[in-house]
Symmetry: C2
Subunit: 225 residues, 2 copies
């Protein structure tokens, strides 16, 4: 049987996995809101974000409590610290889904996404879901090897974003300033969502191995680099 200390330590992982589930749901609904001008979906994402914020705070409180009472060292301490980082990333992923939902809400009853970009945005939504699902598996299984795959999985998101921007910059782009702004920002939010999923995976690698994948170069990548 596990003691309370280890149960609480395990509860960090469980809450993180729950956060990946909520972040996945949020980005999926935000994509629906954006493509279908679905105001209900947008509102759901916006109000649902509270739950992600609450879990982030719970993880922080548990981590703090564990450190103060149990004074963990080495691997346990690493689990606690990396859990804090991962919770922060997942909370930010929720924020990005909210930002996407708010674009949809501003343009309602119109869709913010011009017809010819719908398939690319749909793919970005799918890719965001795939990334956060995989991040959840990686956390749940503490699989450092799988975690290392997320960086190249995220390359696909970056390629989709570039495709979006290429379309906007095409001389045939006929849409107005609002559409240009909306698509520019939406693209950015999906990209950041993906980046945070990679950060979650990187932290899992550090949790398990004690070594960080070198992510400095990724971190400083520009939005269209």
């Amino acid at each position: 049987m596990r003691d309370t200390y280890h149960e609480e330590l395990d509860s960090l992982s469980e809450r993180l996995v729950e956060m990946t589930r909520l972040a996945r749901h949020a980005v999926a609904r935000a994509t629906t809101a954006l493509l279908d001008a679905d105001l209900n979906a947008a509102q759901e994402v916006i109000s649902g974000d509270e739950e992600l914020n609450r879990l982030d705070e719970e993880i922080e409180a548990t981590a703090f409590d564990l450190m103060a009472r149990q004074q963990p060292v080495a691997r346990d301490l690493r689990i606690i610290i990396t859990s804090l980082h991962m919770a922060g990333d997942l909370e930010r992923m929720g924020d990005h889904a909210v930002h996407i939902a708010k674009i949809a809400r501003r343009r309602h009853p119109d869709s913010a996404i011009p017809k010819e970009l719908r398939s690319t945005v749909l793919e970005m939504g799918h890719q965001a879901e795939l990334l956060v699902i995989k991040a959840g598996e990686v956390v749940s299984e503490r699989d450092a090897e799988k975690a290392l795959e997320l960086d190249s999985d995220d390359d696909r998101m970056d390629r989709l974003r570039r495709r979006l921007l290429t379309r906007i910059l095409d001389p045939n782009w006929q849409h107005g300033v609002e559409a240009t702004m909306d698509v520019t920002l939406a693209g950015r939010f999906y990209e950041r969502f993906g980046d945070h999923a990679v950060h979650v995976a990187d932290n899992l690698v550090y949790m398990v191995t004690g070594e960080r994948p070198n992510d400095q170069e990724r971190e400083t990548e520009g939005p269209r680099a």
Copy 2:
């Protein structure tokens, strides 16, 4: 005389203050790069970001080490955890300065900012500097009262961003798609820079008082809310 433990604890604050200094320099130079199409300034911001990343990593390593060896509780533990958060925010502020610098680099030898928006962008740069300077003072002086001012200081940044977007959406806006994208993203990056300065201040409040200012609503604010 202070012992090594307390010296290391103090070194966290000193490094954070140093990070505010570097983040201020970065955003100031990024603004120059943007307004004057100054490629050297842009490169300086991009390569200078390494130093902010390095300090973030140093703070994390020191925090980890202190927790593992000293098993701090209560207030000391809070200092360590909040330092980790603040370092993360400051590192992100550096990233946003880099994103701004990269916009400048992409448009070189042109300036990415149309003439009629120069004064607004200049003000946003100044406001970003003011916010990070104040965040540095707040950390250095552990002044929770002053820290609470940053949230309303940041309202000014949000107003400037709205002014920028109003100009873009004006029927008289004559600039092309590239300018629309550049100004949209630059506005977003300055806004996020300010948000992170507010987070630093919020963490200082928590460090000193043990209570967090309620910042959930701020956190979920959309880019144009």
